[in-house]
């Protein structure tokens, strides 16, 4: 047997090894909570260290609330794609076509308004529907025809990208004098896509409060504490929440929220709620954990997988609409470079305050951290062209670090 071949020297020699007394119950105490905590905090600590270095190195030019908010606002399509990818990964499915779907969504949003003259509201609905149909195609290929998800979505991604090239003949599609401009609420100065056009303060504070509340609720459920001290814990958490929201207000954070940030935070809240508090979300995790066991537990695995692709296609189309809103035009391959950072953000969620599982807040936090790391270097003088290199390095280093720390002793 090959396992015998690899026998350790202790087995091969006649040396008397002390019988290691392993009681059956001792098995799970091997991986102490300290090690688990260490690995889950490692990534967060690594990012903290990077931002500390930035603080010393760049000072005010990096730590500027307006600038940091602007970064998030600019990378909204990337965050949205990361959410689409993360949900798929929760159900152990890959969708590599999201970036191409987003590009196609961008072209549809601009093209249908300019060339077909449809009202913008209808255009948005139609674009989302096309995204859903694209996802359905992926889902049918994977669940019905049993094509490997990697290949299927790589292929359909090429297909969608190809259609955009054919449609645009490789040129930028944008408003022409004949068609008139895109609606003023959709694109341009003072529109949804304009960072200078802030969301009303009330909405911004509401979203901030909702996000803080969601995080505290997550924390509360992860570490519920004894029943006798529930009231104390609730009070403490409530106070912390109020303090955090107050601090954010004092820093002027909600005042910097534009509509893009509001959209991405609302989407995150919605998806997180679905994943955490509905049967569908739990079923997705079950299918991702062990599809066979999920089927035995009475979950319709194929329907769930199909829904995952439909969801990611729809959300990818939404990302495309956001790109169109930000840029006011559609350039060939405009969303294609977002694929790597989207996956990077989703994979970072497995190592940020997590036990190796994909989750939504981690995805958004990881994506934003990725944006900031890159941006800090750009502020510090590294050419913007290095962005992809930095993204790749950050992804590999952080995931490797956490996985290395997470490794069980002896494994």
């Amino acid at each position: 047997m090959s396992s015998n071949e690899a026998g350790s020297p202790a087995v091969a020699t006649d040396e008397i090894a002390a019988p290691s007394q392993v009681s059956p119950t001792a098995g799970w105490s091997h991986r102490g909570p300290s090690r688990e905590m260490l690995s889950s905090v490692a990534t967060a600590a690594a990012f903290g260290l990077v931002f500390l270095v930035y603080a010393v190195w760049l000072q005010g030019s990096f730590y500027d609330v307006t600038r940091l908010s602007f970064d998030v606002s600019r990378s909204t399509p990337q965050l949205v794609l990361a959410i689409a990818v993360a949900v798929c990964l929760c159900g152990h499915q890959f969708d590599l076509s999201v970036a191409a779907t987003a590009t196609a969504g961008c072209f549809l949003a601009v093209g249908m308004f300019i060339d077909a003259g449809l009202p913008m509201g209808v255009v948005i609905v139609l674009t989302l529907l096309v995204g859903a149909a694209a996802g359905l195609l992926n889902g049918v290929l994977v669940t019905k025809f049993r094509v490997n998800a990697f290949i299927a979505t790589l292929g359909t991604g090429g297909l969608f990208a190809g259609f955009t090239v054919v449609y645009s003949s490789g040129r930028v599609v944008g408003p022409t004098p004949d068609s008139g401009p895109l609606p003023s609420w959709f694109s341009g100065a003072g529109s949804v896509g304009d960072f200078q056009n802030k969301a009303p303060l009330g909405v911004a504070v509401l979203v901030t409060a909702a996000v803080v509340a969601a995080l505290l609720v997550s924390f509360d459920q992860r570490f519920p504490g004894p029943e006798s001290r529930r009231r104390v814990q609730m009070t403490v958490l409530g106070l912390v929440g109020v303090l955090v929201v107050g601090a954010a207000w004092a820093l002027g954070l909600p005042a910097e929220f534009d509509w893009m940030i509001v959209i991405v935070l609302s989407l995150t809240l919605l998806v997180w709620t679905v994943m955490k508090y509905t049967a569908v979300g739990h079923a997705i995790y079950a299918v991702g954990g062990n599809p066979n066991a999920a089927a035995f537990a009475g979950i319709r695995v194929r329907i769930i997988s199909l829904c995952l692709f439909v969801f990611s296609g729809t959300i990818a189309a939404l990302a495309g609409i956001l790109v169109a809103s930000q840029q006011g035009s559609a350039a060939p391959g405009v969303a294609d470079p977002l694929l790597l950072p989207a996956y990077a953000g989703a994979f970072l969620s497995t190592v940020i305050l997590s036990r190796g599982r994909f989750h939504i807040w981690g995805t958004v936090a990881g994506s934003i951290a990725l944006v900031y790391v890159t941006d800090g270097l750009v502020v510090g003088g590294v050419p913007y062209t290095w962005t992809q290199v930095i993204n790749g390095v950050v992804l590999i280093v952080t995931v490797a670090l956490s996985t290395f720390l997470q490794r069980r002793p002896g494994a």
């Binding site: 047997m1 090959s2 396992s3 015998n4 071949e5 026998g7 202790a10 087995v11 091969a12 020699t13 006649d14 040396e15 008397i16 090894a17 019988p19 290691s20 009681s23 059956p24 119950t25 098995g27 799970w28 991986r31 459920q221 519920p224 709620t273 508090y277 509905t278 049967a279 739990h282 079923a283 995790y285 079950a286 954990g289 062990n290 066979n292 066991a293 999920a294 089927a295 035995f296 537990a297 009475g298 979950i299 036990r355 190796g356 599982r357």
Partner: protein, 480 residues
């Protein structure tokens, strides 16, 4: 204790010398001092019922566990002994030759030379019909088993231990494997075949060793023993198992029919007719691979039968504990709570469509407490639990549904004695509260402890007759 090299002055054909090997797991003394030795060219059948200590002995020989006491000496040291497990350790997508030479030290791969070596290695175990260039996936299961044996011997082992390799095979194919093994033994290898199916090895083995309760109960040459004596010896441990607690209520019929199977064909079994009634435990048993689990899954609604009908009233909630805990049961990386709640979320869905998380946690906690899962922590990752506690987690999930039809497949596989009793008690309680239970098990103890009526699947896939508990001793060696 490690496996020592046999002293050079040992008798000429002695290959393995096991002296007074003991092993304890927690409160269970798995081996109480096993002493035996094996010589060159022997084909030994190592027999015994479940829990007799066969697999513990094999794992000690394989170096998986250290023994607590005693010595094992092997001619040629550690490398002189190879173990072939049920999963065989072959790569399906590679050729026979590639598998044989996999991991062997070499600089460059020379397919021709490897094929030549492979042909020789296969001939050494009396196989001439296998093409070294064939993909392993194209071979029959029996052929694969023999390739694994040839591989082990090719690696320089003189003694090969075959651990339950024939368990999933069709009887004809198992017989073929046993014949090849006999040839390999005649060619000079020492073959130690671990099995619980006596009929497979009768007539082929040159010697029988029967383990019972961690001791050698019998060790005799094939010439000197009759089959009936072996049967008696193997089932000796069984007479101590308590009679079914519900044995008295066998004729207490009158409960409504919960589920009815008519002419069902599933997984090679069929046609099967059976009914599950309220408050009774209906069992089916038979060899592995006979399709008994598939029949149970069909009753649970998890599998569409190839033919026949499964009739279940629409208001009957069904729950199932699947046969393979790791692959079909648990979500290893998730928490105990997730594993208990999975699939049953509808009962916690509030009016808004969101789950009532606190209620869910409380209910899961109650379920886990009722079955005494250790550790009692809902946030523990399930893979950190012992096999028995993982099994209890699956029971908690099934019981959470408050089923009227409970389908159990191998309810006590890989579970220690104490947990086994708890599970039996729980199943009996369920039945007493009016649940119809259908149990598919290859484990005699399950049947003896629980079944109110037992159907035995034969090799041709049908139930020959239904046995009442008092006739159960007739099932002995046919069962795992």
């Amino acid at each position: 204790m490690v496996i020592a090299t046999l002293a050079p002055d040992a008798p000429g054909d002695l290959m393995i010398d096991i002296v007074d090997v003991r092993k304890r797991f927690g409160a269970t003394q798995a081996l109480r001092g096993v002493t035996c030795s094996f010589s060159r060219g022997e084909f030994v059948a190592l027999l015994g019922s479940n829990g007799a200590g066969k697999s513990t002995l094999v794992k000690i020989l394989d170096g998986v566990y250290p023994a607590d006491a005693g010595t094992i000496a092997v001619r040629g040291g550690r490398a002189g002994l190879g173990v072939v497990h049920q999963d065989l350790g072959l790569v399906d997508g590679m050729t026979v030759a590639e598998n044989l030479c996999l991991g062997a030290p070499r600089r460059l791969v020379n397919p021709r030379a490897e094929a030549r070596l492979t042909t020789e290695a296969l001939r050494a175990v009396g196989l001439t019909s296998i093409d070294p260039y064939a993909l392993v996936s194209t071979l029959s299961l029996g052929q694969r088993a023999m390739v694994a044996v040839a591989k082990t011997l090719h690696r320089g082992a003189d003694t090969v231990v075959i651990d339950e390799v024939t368990a999933g095979l069709h009887p004809h194919e198992a017989r073929w494997v046993v014949e090849r093994l006999r040839v390999a033994a005649e060619f000079g290898a020492t073959v130690l075949m671990v099995t619980h199916k006596l009929d497979e090895v009768v007539g082929a083995a040159t010697r029988y060793v029967v383990l019972s309760d961690g001791e050698v109960a019998l060790d005799e040459d094939a010439g000197g023993i009759a089959r009936a004596d072996l049967v008696a010896m193997m089932s000796r441990g069984r007479s101590v198992s308590a009679p079914a607690p519900g044995a008295g209520r066998v004729d207490a019929s009158g409960g409504g029919i919960v589920c009815e199977l008519k002419g069902v064909h599933a997984g090679g079994a069929g046609p099967i007719d059976l009914t599950v009634t309220e408050g009774r435990i209906t069992a089916i048993t038979g060899p592995l691979g006979s399709g008994l689990h598939e029949v149970a899954y069909a009753a649970a609604g998890l599998l569409t039968p190839d033919a026949g009908t499964v009739r279940v009233a629409s208001d009957v909630r069904r729950a199932c504990v699947p046969a393979h805990r790791e692959s079909e049961g648990v979500f290893a990386e998730h928490t105990v709570q997730f594993n208990v709640a999975v699939g049953g979320w509808s009962r916690w869905r509030g009016r808004t469509g969101l789950l009532r998380v606190r209620q869910m946690r409380r209910d899961c906690d109650d379920a886990v407490a009722a079955l005494a899962v250790v550790p009692h922590r809902l946030d523990a990752t399930v893979s950190d639990l012992s096999g028995g506690n993982q099994q209890k987690t699956l029971f908690a999930r099934a019981l959470m549904r408050r089923p009227r039809l409970l389908v159990l497949c191998e309810p006590t596989r890989g579970v220690d004695v104490a947990t086994r009793r708890e599970i039996y008690a729980q199943v009996r309680r369920m039945a007493d509260s009016g649940t119809g239970v259908l149990m598919a098990s290859t484990d005699y103890e399950d049947i003896a402890a629980l079944a109110d009526t037992t159907g035995v699947l034969t090799a041709d896939g049908t139930v020959s007759e239904w046995l009442t508990p008092d006739r159960l001793p007739e099932l002995t060696t046919e069962l795992a």
